[in-house]
Symmetry: C2
Subunit: 149 residues, 2 copies
């Protein structure tokens, strides 16, 4: 009987874990998770700034595709870093309170930046100019979910 | 004769241009080029820091491959940004004075980070730990080519 109870208990725990939308890291220090997230957001900041300099013709467009690829990859990193479920830093508690909305926005950001990177390869600067305002939704999300400095 | 001289002169100029390792941007403001390069170096800084946090088990390894990919893409961006041939910022003039050495180091950085990204996909954290010291040659280059803060 004890064996069966243990077994059933094991299933229940497995089901609970599978249903959890957010899984905090095993033994992560919250400060580390916040630092990690900030490394990712700084990357997005730097890469979108660099892309902006190309689009505004301040610098050559040689790295156009590379910047859109870096942004698309980092968008995925960002979503994963927020799933670690550690409030703090510049993130408002609303990120986790309104998780379905936040996750929806982040998923759209991932999808649209992925599309932007594909478009950049074939269409170059003109197509990036067309799509980037819709793809780079940074401000919309920051207005709601980031603490004002 | 004048025609021939001009023609020969044209060849000489063409040969000179072909031999130039560095081609400055058409109408770029030097300050813009330096800002642009710094966005790229900040990306490398942030992404290698994030990767370091995974390797030191401070955070989950979910983004392992994504960080190595972002580093590999950004390494290529960096080489292109230095080719714009604008001294200044934190770059010592030696970058352009010793261009063959600098370019060789940057090409190695590009190749090795590309390999690291491929290894991360198949070998995970253990293989990244094995290869990252050799691939992330940041310090070796900074010691020689970056102004001390």
């Amino acid at each position: 009987m004890t064996g069966l109870v243990k077994f059933a208990g094991g299933f229940a725990i497995a089901a609970m874990i599978a249903a959890m939308p957010l899984v905090a890291g095993a033994a992560e220090d919250p400060k580390d998770v916040i630092d990690y997230r900030e490394h990712i957001m700084k990357t997005l900041d730097a890469q979108t700034a660099a892309l902006g300099m190309i689009v505004s013709t301040q610098v050559t467009d040689e790295n156009l595709v590379a910047h859109t690829e870096a942004i698309a990859i980092t968008a995925k990193q960002a979503l994963a870093s927020f799933k670690l479920n550690v409030p703090g830093g510049e993130s408002k508690p609303e990120v986790w309170k309104n998780w379905p909305d936040f996750e929806k926005r982040m998923n759209e950001f991932v999808e649209k930046t992925d599309k932007l990177a594909k478009s950049a390869k074939t269409g170059g600067v003109p197509v990036v100019m067309e799509q980037m305002v819709d793809a780079l939704t940074c401000k919309g999300c920051h207005d709601v979910y980031r603490e004002k400095k």
